[in-house]
């Protein structure tokens, strides 16, 4: 179905004064430095389930995530790719990577600068693939890490980008409710959607996400072809409270 030609596939927002382009793929793009940021790839989530006897899900999630990431790199030609944590679904996932997927990943890492940010699922990056492993990094005034840091001594950066929460928006439309992955941002914080093919989502209206944002945040929902912006009062909550 066509839609108006002006439906954007990217939206430029500002975080701490810095322009960041949100891409329809679920990635964030720093135009000036050509940094590409993706979060929560969750490689080998399918095989993690199989290994625990929780169902024999199609073992193609890593291949699919890599295919999407490869397409994105070909399109944008980044100088550097930043994986914002939870790249592997679990630490043992590295051993379950198929040879094909592993060599495709290695080729991607070798093609441009590569940064593995540590996540809660994968405190250590995959070994032997190259790239730099960090806990966090900064681009200008913007701090990038997997999750916000809590506690009284936690830094309060001017701007920050995190993953971890897998935000998803639920929007009431004329016909029915539509749900989809989304970015959420309030001018200071930007939370990226999960990029992984099997990564689920958490409703933006969940306190775990809303608690991180000021009330005037916007959710940028990924539609079939375009990105759509919504205010908090346009977003529906899930009927069930999150655990």
């Amino acid at each position: 179905m066509p839609h108006d030609a002006q439906t954007p596939t990217t939206v430029a927002i500002r975080v701490a004064g810095q322009t960041i382009v949100l891409d329809h793929s679920g990635a964030a793009w720093f135009g000036e430095t050509r940094d590409l940021v993706v979060a929560d790839l969750h490689f080998e989530k399918g095989s993690a389930f199989a290994a625990r006897g929780q169902g024999l899900l199609p073992p193609y999630d890593t291949a699919e995530t890599l295919r999407r990431l490869d397409g994105l790199c070909r399109r944008l030609k980044p100088a550097r790719v930043i994986c914002l944590g939870d790249t592997l679904h679990d630490l043992a996932g590295e051993d379950r990577l198929s040879d094909g997927d592993r060599s495709r990943l290695a080729a991607l890492v070798a093609a441009q600068d590569w940064v593995w940010v540590a996540g809660n699922h994968d405190p250590a990056p995959p070994t032997g693939l190259g790239g730099a492993a960090v806990e966090r990094l900064k681009i200008g005034d913007v701090l990038l890490h997997h999750d916000v840091e809590a506690g009284p001594d936690a830094p309060i950066p001017a701007g920050e980008i995190v993953g971890h929460y897998h935000p998803k928006a639920l929007v009431r439309t004329r016909a029915r409710k539509v749900s989809g992955r989304c970015f959420v941002a309030d001018g200071r914080r930007l939370i990226l959607p999960a990029f992984g093919a099997y990564a689920g989502g958490l409703n933006v209206r969940d306190p775990a996400i809303e608690g991180l944002l000021s009330a005037d945040y916007r959710a940028y929902m990924i539609g079939r072809r375009g990105l759509f912006a919504f205010r908090r009062d346009q977003l529906a909550a899930d009927p069930k409270r999150a655990a």
Binding site: M1, P2, H3, D4, Q6, T7, P8, T10, V11, A12, I13, R14, V21, G31, S47, F49, A50, G53, Q54, G55, L56, L57, P58, P59, Y60, D61, A63, E64, R67, S98, L170, V171, R172, T173, R174, A175, R176, K177, G187, A197, Y198, A199, G200, G201, R218, M221, G223, R224, R225, G226, F228, A229, F230, R231, Q234, A236, P239, K240, R241, A243
Partner: protein
């Protein structure tokens, strides 16, 4: 012997002044000859007793086996199994028979279930799911060793769906465990009894199943309500006619008011009570209400304590009620078979006619009701296309069989093919399903190390882990419910369940109607909707959906016939005739075999309306295919809505000069269908059901949402990945087969496109035609499908974007052109 019945049954009949019906004696004769039997009889003819009589005779003979399971009775309804058990206890007690009869359902306590396995009763009343579970135990061979008879009740209700597949597979296994057991099925009137015979038979030619037909009784008397009120243009509820329905109820007797959806049941119930100045005892019955509540209504009905009950298909099945005098069907019945089955609920005595009144909800439904009456008079029933057994159900069955003990692939294949729906199963499909159960069946054997089935040295396959057995037992069954929430009054009583997405629409203070009362939404707590009594006369909107059946092919044909022939309008209400007359004058009447397509401009949108009359499901598919074509033709379609009668597409360009016959060419079912099917949300929903039934993803169980959070998986994600990487995986094949046979009615669409070829009439109109008004009124009320999602999001988002642009006055929300 009296009347062919042996003692003590003959004496028991005589004491009641009963004479056995011919069909009851015929069932005894079939049993004596060792044949299986299919009994087709209307309600009220002692049908259930006819099914049990042979077993009662055998169990009262002197040489009857003292112990062991003799007769297994399977009902699609748990409640029916319980009722039948109760009804059977009476003759057993009164004749002082030493027969132990028990029920076994999901409600049976654990201790009793274990006892039943150690020491089975003579007669066990159960459901297809409970039978599947019983068969998955290692001791299944012992439980069924003495089995002589299996009775399947209400076969017409499950024969063509996945529960029927599951039961057929269960019966094929039973036949291996108890080769001497006869099969007996009971059914309401159906179009093709031979289909049911084939379903039931052990032999491919069904020669082992005798057809026994009960007396059909007097012809039913069915009328269409001639309303004095203004007939609505659209909507299905029938509120306009409630004063007249109320008068019918007041006239006396006991009535069932059948409606088509749960929402409609709630509204009709409310409206009738609003009019109820005579204090009639009117109750409500539908599938969302708490089971306990439903049982109360049924019991009150059985005692004769009610004047009327407003019901959905939840009352289509069940025990016979002695004294239902009138059946009122509000909204079109959608099929003649279904109408006859509903009318049969009023058939309390075989010698007096059942009475029924049809109440059309709108103008099109007037035509439909007319058509259904013609069909009943001509005694033509709706045929349903046969469908092969589901591969997902087969996967579940294979896992269940392995739970009971190691399986031999060849033996199992042969056994499965003896189940009617799987008679044509190819070895390749079987092997693929088997491999799916064992390893997931993915190319390259990615999961060999996580196998569920392990090959033993003797060549058989055994279950690999205890988890697999547990998962099977937790997930058995073919009914995949949408997630539901309970509706609870404060901290107190549970009134019933609604689909989770209903709650999505509610905020605190909203009022809604449920279980016949006005409630105020307070909050959602865990898996409960907390409600309190609503105040005043607030607009009460039950938004939750119940199953709506599409118009049957047979009725659709009759509706087209009436429309195209003004001579057939004589009996129609004045308002409807006038409506059709104006249509004839302004545009054209749809012809019986052709297709009328109208185009017109209204507001700033260009509309195309096609009068296909093929039912909602087929129209939904057509809508997706048609909009793809229109998009390619540069017509810029924006969305569509499908009703039972028409499909309406709107967009920003006029189709006035478009090549309309080309848009409706049959070849749209080729590439376009493939492409659409792959991407449709309907297919994703179908996949979810297939994935749950086949055991790829686990069912969600109430209360487990929190603990099993990480285990529940979004099936859409799996579908997308599997489709990209292994498009021919057996579960995708199963999904496509389901979509093609059921949900999307592709065959129906194909027949329609072939029929109208060269007979498409296109009219470009100055304004909307009378026949098009109903569908335009449905826009915004009906769901809009598929890829129109972006448009919907755009509609909702645009406002915000322009507003945000204004208020911030900066480029903060501007779009990057890159």
């Amino acid at each position: 012997m009296s009347g062919g019945l042996p003692e003590p049954l003959a004496g028991w009949f005589a004491a009641r002044g009963w004479t056995p019906h011919p069909h009851q004696l015929a069932m005894l004769e079939a049993a004596r000859d060792g044949d299986s039997a299919l009994l087709i009889a209307p309600t009220g003819g002692g049908k259930t007793l006819a099914g049990f009589l042979p077993s009662l005779v055998e169990l009262t003979r002197a040489d009857a086996p003292p112990e062991g399971l003799h007769t297994l009775y399977i009902s699609p309804l748990k409640a029916l199994a319980v009722d039948i058990h109760r009804n059977l206890e009476a003759p057993i007690a009164e004749m002082g028979l030493a027969i132990r009869a028990e029920t076994r359902t999901g409600d049976t306590p654990q201790a009793k279930r274990q006892r039943q396995r150690r020491s089975p009763p003579h007669m066990l009343m159960t459901t297809p799911e409970s039978l599947a579970l019983l068969l998955s135990y290692e001791d299944a061979p012992g439980i069924f060793a003495q089995l002589r008879c299996v009775i399947v009740d209400e076969l017409h209700a499950i024969e063509d769906n996945k529960r029927g597949d599951l039961l057929a597979l269960g019966l094929s296994r039973l036949a291996a465990l108890a080769p001497d057991a006869r099969r007996v099925a009971l059914s309401a009137t159906v179009a093709e009894p031979d289909r049911l015979r084939r379903w039931l038979a052990l032999r491919p030619d069904a020669s082992d199943v005798r057809l026994v037909t009960g007396a059909s009784g007097a012809e039913p008397r069915i009328d269409v309500l001639q309303t004095a009120a203004r007939l609505p243009w659209s909507g299905h509820i029938g509120v306009h006619a409630m004063p007249e329905v109320y008068e019918l109820l007041r006239a006396g007797g006991t009535a069932i008011v059948f409606v088509n959806t749960r929402a409609q049941a709630e509204i009709v119930f409310q409206e009738l009570w609003r009019l109820n100045e005579d204090g009639l005892r009117i109750a409500l019955h539908h599938g969302s209400l708490a089971a306990e509540q439903r049982r109360k209504v049924e019991a009150a009905m059985a005692r004769g304590d009610l004047d009327a009950v407003v019901a959905t298909s939840s009352l289509d099945l069940g025990v016979d009620w002695a004294a239902v005098d009138l059946v009122i069907q509000v909204g079109a019945p959608k099929g003649s078979t279904r109408l006859l089955q509903r009318v049969g609920r009023a058939n309390h005595r075989l010698d007096s006619p059942s009475r029924a009144v049809l109440v059309p909800g709108n103008r099109f439904e007037v035509l439909e009701c007319r058509a259904v009456l013609d069909a009943v008079r001509a005694n033509t029933l709706d045929g349903i296309p046969a469908r092969p057994g589901g591969l997902d159900v087969l996967a579940q069955h294979i896992l269940g069989a392995a739970c009971a003990g190691p399986v031999d692939r060849d033996d199992l294949y042969a056994q499965v093919r003896r189940a009617g729906p799987y008679a044509g199963l190819s070895r390749r499909d079987f092997e693929d399903v088997f491999e799916f159960v064992a390893t997931g069946g993915y190319a390259l054997g990615a999961y060999d190390r996580f196998r569920r089935l392990k090959l033993q040295p003797d060549g058989r396959h055994a279950i690999a882990t205890k988890e697999a057995i547990r998962d099977y037992r937790m997930n058995v069954g073919t009914i995949v419910e949408a997630p539901t929430l309970r509706v609870r009054m404060g901290r107190g009583r549970v009134l019933g369940e609604v689909e989770e997405r209903f709650a999505n629409y509610m905020t605190a203070g909203d009022t809604f109607v449920f279980a016949g009362r006005l409630l105020e939404f307070v909050e959602v707590r865990e898996t409960d909707i907390i409600a309190k009594p609503g105040k005043g006369d607030a607009p009460a909107v039950p938004a939750y959906v119940g199953g709506r059946l599409p118009l049957s092919t047979h009725l659709a044909d009759r509706v087209r016939g009436i429309l195209s022939d003004p001579r057939a309008w004589r009996d129609l209400p004045e308002q409807v005739r006038e409506w059709l007359d104006v249509q004839r004058w302004r545009s054209l009447l749809p012809s019986r075999d052709g297709l009328l397509v109208e185009t017109f401009l209204r507001g700033n949108k260009h509309y195309l309306v096609a009068y296909c009359f093929e039912g909602r499901n087929a129209h939904q598919t057509l809508g997706m295919l048609l909009t793809r074509r229109m998009e390619r033709a540069g017509l810029n379609p924006l969305g569509f809505v499908a009703t039972d009668y028409v499909i309406c597409v709107w967009g920003t360009r006029s189709a006035e000069d478009a090549d309309i016959p080309a848009l409706f060419d049959e070849d749209m079912l080729g590439d376009d269908l493939e492409a659409w099917m792959a991407d449709s949300s309907m297919l994703k929903r179908t996949f979810r059901n297939v994935a749950v039934i086949a055991g790829l993803i686990q069912r969600r169980h109430p209360g487990e949402e929190k603990t099993r959070r990480q285990v529940t998986f979004n099936s859409d994600l799996i579908y997308d990945v599997l489709r990209t990487h292994e498009p021919n995986h057996v579960l995708l094949r199963a999904t496509r087969a389901d979509a093609a046979s059921g949900l999307t009615d592709v065959r129906r669409l194909a027949d329609m496109l072939a029929r109208v070829r060269g007979r498409i009439a296109h009219r470009h109109l100055e304004r909307v035609s009378p026949l098009a008004v109903p569908v335009l009124l449905e826009i915004g009320r009906e769901s809009v499908y598929g890829a129109a999602i972006d448009e919907l999001l755009g509609e909702s988002a645009e406002e915000l974007i322009s507003e945000a642009m204004e208020t911030t006055g900066t480029r903060e929300f501007g779009f990057d052109a890159a």
